[in-house]
């Protein structure tokens, strides 16, 4: 009989900083099961529920040529029948026990979430195991989910927001998988076969690429046992993969997709900054000031508050594994698009040239640090954060260090990073609508779905 050792490395008593010495400890524990599966755990016995988030590295960016949407389709199907349970039986079991099990595909990761009452945890983890290791891909659910994806694509086909997003992606990454839609196109989704689905699972689900975060009513011991029961059936190693580095194209382009709608939707983007870049935190603070800060951002003030030009105007950083963007958007009536764009370009350039003011920087840091505890508003959000921390190699003590990382951004750094990042001439712009007085820089790229 083998001795079973459960290693629990008590990570850090993490004080969630609030300012005036009102700290409450959040303890993140690194749990390693006897079989060697690692999960980060925050025990919380307030409510009898358990929240688990997981991710496998490798997502839609690995979809084979002509099969864009494969990862997404797998995510919709592995909970539609697994092991001995066909689709309705599997779903029925989830519903009977009030277990929530969902999967989704991003560009760089394949995600799963499991939510269960403590009393049903054995069943919940077992259904998760089946979904990951023995998905059935029976004909009926495959065709049903395919039809749902196609219906979704159709629904979004003429939606100006979707058109803008797809078009901008293609302009920014014309020759890279990041330019493909995660949900695919009607053609590519039609072409996915059951064999493709099986190959994805066989190649992408491995213990070495698996990341797990758990929050809730479970002890490290009990979790360790469930981790082994659930994940040891997975192959030890996922298939290797490689994704090329992606530098965005399209600098300076303005593309108009003519649509007969009263309000034009505008999206714009340029190269951004990677998550592990030492300047990332400074960029995050600067972007908050420019367009990430909701009601207090420069874009909000100039475009919406002062002039009433838009309901929604924003910018955000989008770091991905193999490339990064900073993206923004605005929607306004056709007659005012040119004016709105002009203002946005001016603000973009102004930020790049002069950076933020000292007051703006202080206010931004105060908000970003003060609001950090608000992220701990539900178990699901927290288990998701635990996965994110591992994906980005932020360290188990990240929750403790994060506010200091924001605080240390000084004005010189902020200005240097603003200069490094924001260049209005680099922006690729897509306008979907019927904008007055705006000239495209070149013809619209051919639509493909």
């Amino acid at each position: 009989m083998r001795m079973r050792f459960l290693f629990v490395l008590l990570a850090v008593q993490v004080a969630v900083l609030l300012g005036a010495g009102n700290a409450r400890a959040v303890q993140v524990e690194r749990v390693v099961s006897p079989g060697g599966i690692e999960a980060w755990l925050i025990e919380d016995h307030t409510n009898p529920i358990i929240s688990l988030d997981l991710a496998f590295r490798g997502g839609a960016a690995l979809d084979p040529a002509g099969k864009a949407g494969l990862a997404n389709m797998v995510s919709g199907l592995i909970d539609e029948g697994a092991g001995g349970l066909e689709s309705q039986a599997f779903q029925g079991r989830l519903e009977d026990l009030s277990i929530r099990l969902r999967f989704s595909a991003g560009r760089d990761v394949f995600n799963g979430e499991l939510r269960t009452l403590s009393e049903n945890r054995a069943a919940a983890f077992d259904l998760l195991r089946l979904a990951l290791t023995q998905p059935r891909f029976d004909a009926e659910p495959v065709e049903r989910i395919r039809a749902q994806i196609l219906a979704g694509l159709a629904r979004r086909a003429e939606n100006p927001n979707s058109i803008a997003a797809r078009t901008l992606r293609r302009i920014l990454f014309p020759n890279h998988p990041y330019g493909q839609p995660v949900e695919g196109t009607p053609e590519s989704v039609e072409s996915v076969t059951v064999a493709d689905l099986g190959r994805f699972v066989a190649a992408r689900f491995g213990r070495d690429t698996l990341i797990i975060g758990v929050v809730g009513d479970i002890t490290p011991d009990a979790l360790g046992q469930l981790l082994d029961k659930t994940f040891l059936d997975l192959p030890a190693r996922a298939g290797a993969f490689e994704v090329a580095a992606a530098r965005p194209s399209g600098a300076g382009r303005l593309v108009i997709v003519e649509k007969d709608v009263p309000q034009s939707v505008v999206l714009f983007g340029q190269e951004g900054i990677l998550r592990d870049d030492p300047d990332y935190y400074a960029a995050y603070v600067v972007n908050y000031i420019l367009g990430g800060g909701g009601f207090s951002s420069r874009l909000y003030k100039e475009v919406r508050e002062k002039r009433g030009l838009a309901y929604s105007v924003y910018s955000y950083l989008q770091p991905m594994d193999h490339g990064a963007l900073v993206v923004g958007g605005v929607a306004t009536q056709n007659g005012r698009v040119a004016r709105a764009l002009e203002l946005i370009r001016a603000e973009w350039a102004r930020m790049g040239e002069a950076g933020p003011s000292a007051t703006e920087l202080d206010d931004a840091k105060r908000y970003l640090t003060g609001s950090f505890p608000l992220r701990f508003s539900s178990s699901g959000r927290i288990s998701g954060m635990l996965v994110g921390m591992q994906l980005e190699h932020l360290g188990i003590d990240y929750l403790d260090r994060r506010n200091a990382l924001i605080e240390t951004v000084d004005l010189d750094t902020a200005r240097r990073v603003a200069r490094r990042l924001y260049d209005a001439d680099k922006l690729a712009v897509v306008v979907v609508g019927h904008p007055d007085g705006l000239a495209a820089s070149d013809p619209t790229p051919k639509p493909n779905g």
């Binding site: 749902q148 909701g294 009601f295 002062k306 002039r307 908000y367 608000l374």
Partner: protein, 455 residues
Amino acid sequence: MFNALRTGRPLAAIGFWLLPAVFLALAWAPAEARVFDPETFTLDNGLQVVVVTNRRAPIVTHMVWYKVGAADEASGESGNAHFLEHLMFKGTKTLGPGEFSRIIAQNGGRENAFTGQDYTAFYQTVARDRLDIVMKYEADRMANLVLSDDEVLTERDVVLEERRSRVDNSPGALLGEAINAALYLNHPYRLPVIGWAHEIRQLNTETATAFYRKWYAPNNAVVIIAGDISAAEVRPLAERYYGAVAAHPVPKRARIAEPPQHAERRVTLKSARVRQPSLSIVYLAPGYNSPDGARAYALQVLDKIMGGGATSRLYRGLVVERSLAASAGSGYDATVVDGSEFSFHVSPRPGVEIDRVEAALRTEIADLLDGGVSAEEVAAAKRRLVAQAIYARDSLSTAPNVLGRALATGRTVADVEAWPERIAAVTVAEVNAAARAVLRAEHSVTGALLSKPTS
């Protein structure tokens, strides 16, 4: 009836609020049901304060619900309630425009607001030691709002852009407005919360100020606080800030009534921008406060049976077994001041004509009315409804949203706490009777969203 609109703050919307309640069940038969276990007290000026303690993180969510919404607007002033909600951020006697939000942000708080037919709500989530600040400034704008034409007219443009984003750009949303307008012959629920564009353009400082003076008062509001705090800790803060706001008389909410309905209606929107057709059938239904409001619990069980998940009748029948629909479901929400709606919706699989899907849906409805629901279906639906509710307790924002909606629409804390028992008590006979009473063609509108060939 999904007429609630989030304000011009597209970011940071807190939580969902469709779940009627939460229940921490230790056994299936909820002998001593507790849902949120709230504490409540009322100030001398009539403001009710409700506190739900949740110590998971040192933060609190603070919500102010005014018992007034779009359905209380004067004729010709559709959109006024939602407009006022936007304008509440534009300054008071002591704060300049936008300063409220700046102060919240400086204190690390997140905030937003929204308007529905029956309520207008403002909320912030902050660290627990900043609660006094949000209460102070929320109480300030409850009494001391100051508006200038400059701010008002600029914000009116923002609201028109919001309407363009949410409605004018969306064939589905345009159809939704047509459905509501056809479903209610008289009652103001027929009007969009955001307002008709031509009426929005007529709103101004006077219309907003008049609405504010008429309806915004501590005796017409509820404050809900959830998080790392107790009622005993909240009380002195509430007395200090909200207690200082003077009560004033507020009219009774008396909406013009619906007459009896005799004619089944159909509205169709065809657009070249629709690539995926869809169809809904919406029936008038009682809400909690209706004379037959006791049916509301049976209708929630019916909603779960018919369209509440992958094993529901509509999904199983239309999507799985007959492969006609890509999606199929139902909807019902009892938390309204006046009447409500019970709805079905379907969308066909690519390649399937929508007429076939409509026919299949109507067959399901007919089967329901002929054969009723089974004991197994009712038991499973009740179990799932009550058990699902445990999750809602996990998120900080659910309690204030659920309690706020209930109290702002004329329900009590006791009603919310009793929800699991009342659901558990629903019988097969009650579900069948509710279905027969509600699902009458002459009380319905069918709305179809169709493609239009471009050539």
